[in-house]
């Protein structure tokens, strides 16, 4: 099963050289990205030189064993964390050069992030949680509420919108997190284990939403342990020990 570290994605050919910039249509370009965490005397190398290129409209599943660096990579891609070394371009812009206000705008307008640990505001109800990104986007109260309600409806939680996270089940919380990521209609959806707590029926519903978003031309990166979930994606990247182990297209989905 040890697949070679392939560079099968067509975009790889137009990857930036040392001085070059990523080509058009390349949403995510990382080059030799590393990230490590000092833990007492030792250093945990979560990412040890990751090169990924993801083009606009791609649907990519990131897989790999626990602790292989998937969430760490997602955080960097989502502009929440910065690599220790290496480069990262988002939509052709070197993220390292962006200031705080630009980063905030990027996280708010371009990226929808579903956290592995949900990260909902404990004190706010589901509706307000979903409204949050719209608040920072400056969307007016009425439109905000309408859109948040719609997003909650899409994940089947409309009747739970006045519940706080503590009053929701794990799966329901996860769906609130998905609704919050979708509500801004982000061009790039980053979902870290978005169906980890869901039964197969709800999982299918959520993945149908992702499919729809994908059909509309949005880019989706999804972390999962579940091969059935990965089947929805058009390409699978496998991580192991902070390195890309394999990067293969999904034969059943014919990419391009």
């Amino acid at each position: 099963m040890q697949a070679p570290v392939t560079q099968t994605a067509p975009a790889r050919e137009t990857a930036p050289g040392p001085a070059g910039r990523p080509g058009a249509g390349q949403v995510i370009v990382t080059r030799a990205v590393t990230r490590s965490f000092p833990m007492g005397d030792t250093v945990i190398r979560a990412l040890q030189g990751v090169d990924v290129t993801i083009c606009r409209g791609e649907y990519v599943a990131i897989m790999g064993p626990s602790g292989s660096g998937k969430s760490t990579l997602m955080n960097i891609i989502g502009c929440l964390d910065r690599p220790d070394s290496g480069e990262y371009w988002l939509n052709g812009t070197p993220v390292a050069e962006l200031g705080d206000a630009d980063l905030a705008a990027l996280r708010n307008r371009e990226i929808g992030f579903v956290f592995q640990t949900f990260n909902l505001l404990a004190r706010a109800d589901a509706l307000h949680n979903v409204e949050l990104p719209l608040i920072y986007a400056g969307v007016g109260r009425r439109e905000r509420t309408e859109r948040a309600q719609l997003a909650l409806e899409q994940v089947g939680l409309r009747e739970r919108m006045r519940h706080r996270p503590a009053e929701l089940s794990g799966g329901q919380r996860q769906r609130v997190a998905v609704a919050r990521a979708l509500v801004t209609r982000p061009s790039l959806l980053l979902a870290d284990e978005p169906t980890g707590n869901l039964d197969s029926a709800t999982t299918a519903d959520i993945l149908a939403l992702f499919d729809e978003l994908h059909r509309k031309g949005n880019t989706i990166v999804l972390v999962t342990h579940d091969p059935a979930v990965a089947e929805y994606a058009h390409r699978a990247i496998r991580l192991r020990d902070g390195r890309i182990e394999s990067d293969t297209p999904n034969p059943r989905k014919g990419h391009g």
């Binding site: 955080n75 989502g78 929440l80 964390d81 705080d100 206000a101 905030a104 705008a105 996280r107 708010n108 307008r109 992030f113 956290f115 990260n119 909902l120 505001l121 404990a122 004190r123 949050l132 990104p133 608040i135 920072y136 986007a137 400056g138 007016g140 109260r141 919050r180």
Partner: protein, 402 residues
């Protein structure tokens, strides 16, 4: 709208920790209440003093013998006479009227009652110049004075002291040094002014006092009324010049008389009120600073407690500025709530003091606005550092915080 969210979050946070918020606000509450009370006392005391000065009537200077005063008693041996009074009236241009006054404590008899009261012999123009208003009956006339008639006008409390009351004593007879005096009228109550209670005083015509009661030329004092528009300083210079000439005081020698502005008695009361106000200002500034530090402390705690929330908000698109503003707003909301409570408390204390002191103290809108702005400023000043701390948190580290 983002601002609305910030206020909402701030209020939620206050509600979630109501008691803690109250304790935090206590310093601000006391500080603002002190500011409100302080301003009200300052203006109330000033208003009370102004009112009493108005009651004094026209601007009047008081001339006494001796070079200085001790407890209202002239020290030194020089004497004032009616000639001095006449000279002042004649030669000091800014003086438009004088009242010479002979006075002393005397036994007053009425029926079987006996009271030791101050009796003042004055010219008939004294009510106008010294600011007395007749409550019932009338005062004596120039003619009464010239013919040395035994008539008297009483202060409002004298009737009561003599076993009857202010209205009933008019027309009755009182005895001063065995002479029967007809009571012509009673003045309105004036309240204690300075060291002497004029409500317990008896006035008789000057010449009656001079020749039939006291038998002396020596005046207790001369009241000189100043022309409208002339300054106290100018009148004092003029009177001093006339008096030095009258008393033939050589240049370089000290005056054997003193000139006083009765208003200065009130300065003492105003000063007392001012000292109280300064004390309150001290309390106010100390508690505002302490309160501000309390706010800062609790905001630091809040920022730590809500690290995760900050991480979430940043991940969803809140900029540093948004977070900074949110926590500054929260500190300010905390302070302004404290300010509002302080204004209410200050209003209560002010009403209480007004009732006890009998002052007409009003809480001015300016004071309320000032106090409110002040508490907002305290919130801004002491909230900005914790807010900066919150704004600078790294999103991913904040998210990982449990």
């Amino acid at each position: 709208m983002l601002f609305a969210e910030m206020i909402l979050v701030a209020l939620q946070s206050v509600r979630a920790n109501l008691f803690r918020a109250f304790l935090t606000m206590l310093g601000i509450i006391i500080g603002v209440a002190s500011v409100i009370t302080m301003i009200a006392i300052g203006s109330g005391a000033k208003a009370a003093v102004d009112q009493q000065i108005d009651q004094l009537g026209a601007s009047v200077l008081s001339i006494r013998s001796g070079s200085f005063m001790r407890m209202g008693v002239a020290q030194g041996g020089a004497t004032l006479t009616i000639k001095d009074a006449e000279a002042i009236a004649r030669d000091a241009p800014s003086v438009i009227g004088v009242v010479p006054e002979i006075a002393g404590q005397l036994q007053i008899k009425h029926g079987n009652r006996n009271e030791n009261l101050r009796v003042a012999g004055v010219t008939a123009n004294f009510p106008e110049i010294q600011g007395y208003t007749i409550a019932s009956g009338k005062s004596f006339t120039k003619a009464d004075d010239a013919s040395r008639r035994p008539v008297a006008v009483l202060g409002s409390a004298v009737g009561g002291k003599l076993g009857t009351n202010a209205a009933a004593i008019v027309g009755q007879t009182i005895y001063i040094k065995g002479i029967a005096f007809e009571v012509l009228g009673v003045f309105e109550e004036k309240g204690s002014t300075g060291f002497r209670n004029v409500d317990e005083q008896v006035w008789i015509p000057f010449f009656t006092a001079r020749y039939r009661v006291f038998g002396t030329e020596q005046l207790d004092s001369i009241s000189a009324q100043m022309a409208p528009g002339s300054t106290v300083e100018r009148s004092i210079v003029e009177i001093e010049r006339v008096m030095r000439k009258q008393h033939q005081i050589q240049p370089g020698k000290d005056n054997d008389f003193s000139i006083a502005d009765p208003r200065q008695f009130f300065n003492v009361r105003e000063a007392a009120a001012n000292i109280f106000a300064i004390l309150l200002a001290g309390i106010a500034s100390i508690s505002l600073v302490v309160g501000g530090i309390g706010i800062m402390n609790i905001m630091l705690v809040t920022v730590t407690e809500r690290t995760k929330e900050i991480g979430i908000r940043k991940a969803l698109g809140a900029s540093r500025r948004n977070i900074l503003l949110q926590f500054v707003v929260e500190a300010m909301v905390l302070c302004m709530l404290g300010g509002a409570a302080g204004i209410a408390l200050g209003a209560g204390v002010t009403t209480l003091i007004a009732r006890i002191a009998g002052w007409n103290m009003a809480i001015s809108p300016t004071a309320v606005l000032l106090a409110f702005c002040f508490s907002a400023a305290v919130g801004l000043f002491f909230g900005i550092w914790p807010a900066r701390k919150a704004a600078r948190l790294d999103p991913i580290e904040a998210l990982r915080y449990e």
